[in-house]
Subunit: 551 residues, 2 copies
Amino acid sequence: MERFYNAAARVVDDALESLAATTAVRVAEPESGLRILIREDWDRTRQGHDSVAVLSGGGAGHEPAHAGFIGDGMLTGAISGSLFASPSVEAVLAAIREVCGDAGCLLVVKNYTGDRLNFGLAAERARAEGLDVAMVIVADDIAIADAPQPRGIAGTVLVHKLAGFLAARGDPLAEIQGRAEALAGRLVSLGMALRPAAQPGQPAPARAPELGLGIHNETGTREVAPESADDAMNEVLTPLREALSARGSDAPWIAMLNDLGGCSTQEMGVLAASLLRQLGPASVSHLIGPAPLMTSLDMHGFSVTLVPADDTLVEALAAPTTAPGWCGLKAVSPAVTFTPDTHREHEALSESAPQDPAVAALLRAAITTLRDARDELDALDAKSGDGDAGASMQSGADAVAAALDTERLDTRTPAPLFAGIGQLLARDMGGSSGVLLSILFTATGADLAQGSDLPDALVEGVVKLQAYGGAKPGDRTLLDALVPAVEALARGETLASAAEAARAGADATAELTRAHAGRSAYVPESALEGVIDPGAEAVARVLEALTAAAR
Amino acid sequence: MERFYNAAARVVDDALESLAATTAVRVAEPESGLRILIREDWDRTRQGHDSVAVLSGGGAGHEPAHAGFIGDGMLTGAISGSLFASPSVEAVLAAIREVCGDAGCLLVVKNYTGDRLNFGLAAERARAEGLDVAMVIVADDIAIADAPQPRGIAGTVLVHKLAGFLAARGDPLAEIQGRAEALAGRLVSLGMALRPAAQPGQPAPARAPELGLGIHNETGTREVAPESADDAMNEVLTPLREALSARGSDAPWIAMLNDLGGCSTQEMGVLAASLLRQLGPASVSHLIGPAPLMTSLDMHGFSVTLVPADDTLVEALAAPTTAPGWCGLKAVSPAVTFTPDTHREHEALSESAPQDPAVAALLRAAITTLRDARDELDALDAKSGDGDAGASMQSGADAVAAALDTERLDTRTPAPLFAGIGQLLARDMGGSSGVLLSILFTATGADLAQGSDLPDALVEGVVKLQAYGGAKPGDRTLLDALVPAVEALARGETLASAAEAARAGADATAELTRAHAGRSAYVPESALEGVIDPGAEAVARVLEALTAAAR
């Protein structure tokens, strides 16, 4: 399966079905064979109903156009044909009859022969029935110079929005038609695709990238070979600017960036940046999108629409609507920057920090132990991980040693001491274990600063270590030694007793063959049998060294 | 070029640049090397500022997550890493410092080791500085049964929305953290992809379609071979329902349908229909999407998130936000249908219509002329089009003849007569020419019904024919005969004079080698030289026949 479709013939009805189930619309009963969706709250016969109805539609395959633009402040309803094929006169006429009250009805139609004729005849029949119907034809595609009948493409969505806005505020039909036609006359659009659309069940036609490819895969202006998103955007913007210039349509413009269906959000973001850079803030005041607005199935391409910004248009496009397909109008402004505050990064370390020789001696005992244990720890780690546990511990020990040597660690006050060690480990120890131990020391230091005593602060540090690290005792990590030791201290037991608990916990990891967390989670169970976890071993040795030094 | 990117290394910064230019955010100055975006109106030092800040972030490549969810009622800010790589501790800490006021700050983090550790350490450092920081880890992916560390995927966006809503209404940090954690514990998500994501500048890895593929292309549960969108959706929904059942999480649920990056709007619509059908209206009360919310570059796949619907969550998800990436919550309800009004389709035709033998005789003269001209008109059309102009005219003539024979056309009253002929031509003549002539007769009939005399009504009919057909005199169409004839009538000239004008106009089409509209627009100019347009010829012959019959 190449695409998430059911039967090819079901694509249009499936997509409309999900829209109908999640939007406040009523739909023509399926047996009618007509695909008509109307705002559920629309009542053409309501007393005092003075709003013009706005209908649009055309072939399917352009979703969210057209039914996705049904909502308060946009379309009253939409008539969908089959994929890339106009709806019938009968369908359009039935939709007009459903929505058209005394205020009348405007049809917004893209400039294709089939749409023009079917909507046109339906409009004439409706008029013959006494209904007040007007029609606006949108022909915004500038792909083919001097085309007698330029195609209607994405710019049509802006006409939906303007007409829906004017209708919602109660403008009369003739006024809405006039303004919509004026907008249609100012719109210029152009697309580019790297790959054309594939009809459901068929492969995409094999064609080179093209500028001005139509939304039904109609031939474009010419083949292109853009080398970058900037290049592609330039190819599209240049003819658009020339067309606006030829019409005397000065900047600032509103730009709409439309995903033709197959672009990722990242590609559209890159293209948007390119558009904004190339036009510059003086030329583009507002952006619509990037978003899929008028797609062509999965065509891997985009289109840009430009139109001079005037106050009414900006107000209309910025007005809220309940239409689910509309993505809003955004004002373009130069990015506001701030200076990120990173200067406090090492504040727990300072020049000439207060010193307590006894504490420094304890730390040096731990450092010596870790340096001496490097090879043994690496060997243990080689059996369960990548063999760098000892080297990593030594890096941390070396960093603390250097800070002791230069008297940058405050060994006299526990809170800044733990915070300082935390900073050193994060910066110089590296890897996940550096961050994890940094969390332990940092959290312990923060709790000490709030007045806890050391055992309680260590408990808090271990809680944070578990929360962020995601491991728990029994998972074959340093927690298997650390947790029983800290629990012993918290029960008021001696350092020696804590060290014994750590040793027992570390030794027990040799029996833990299933590792739930940490690197050894990826190692076969048999490889772990009889091997002590190097992190737990390190914790046990450090506590044993501290106990010996403290005597 | 395979994708609309500039340099691969620029993808993240380009995409963030366009977001920053169109959203009310301030960004860390580029020289800092940190990718931090903060709501522009956020002032942590403001007097009386009692709102908790909500931050999120992680690796890039998941846009609109996370920066696209910055806005009033959602995230206060976001920290972006590189593609698929966590931001640094320094970046997260700087963001916390930028937003965290007296009310504190909540970090919403997806469950990946890098994110957990970097955000975790930043949180601990911030606490050590006296800031009130809490963190919620989201682990909603149920792809791997009994995973010790389930991954955080699209469901995270719902935590953003809930936390942002609660923060906006002034809830305290502990309350928001508690509710966000409770939601994270209830979320279940699962994805499927037909094709994994391609890193910029690299081809997509060659892998079979997979269920449970991670958002960084991590291995999924198993390979799958869905045969349809329904099949794919079933594969995803079955484990999700089992997971909810195992947790005792009864329906109704809120469903979120997320485009992983490479699906078209049509595919997402089809998948949404499939989701709604398979869960049924009793099980799914609300839908979020379909939309790209947590993507994986251009991964061609989707994910579904389910969560039990409760009142607070529905209220939170339905609340408005200015975040551009949020697509809103939609209530699911059975489609409301209406019966389209097509019963008036043939009302201008009736049984035992009033008859005027003189008018009927005129019509029969025109009918005979068109039937006799069939072969000549086909021959003319063969030189400029597809050779069916005569056959098409004959079909129209036959339809009118049949209606005369059965007395269904009111030949006594001009308005219903023209309207009736218009309906016959649309229904039985077929093709564009049937619709075009139907527009002529229908519009003329409607103008007659409003009290115009026949020449003025014909002028109106011709105006409409031009408007909808898009051609004008000189374009080598029937207008070249029709327009001068109708103009003659409108000047008060005789039918004979009008017929002469039509003949002159028709003959002149032989000199029009450039066709602007109609089928002959696609024919080389040389092929048209000396050939009268068949439509114009038919008009001239009919008027000549009417003139002769009227004598």
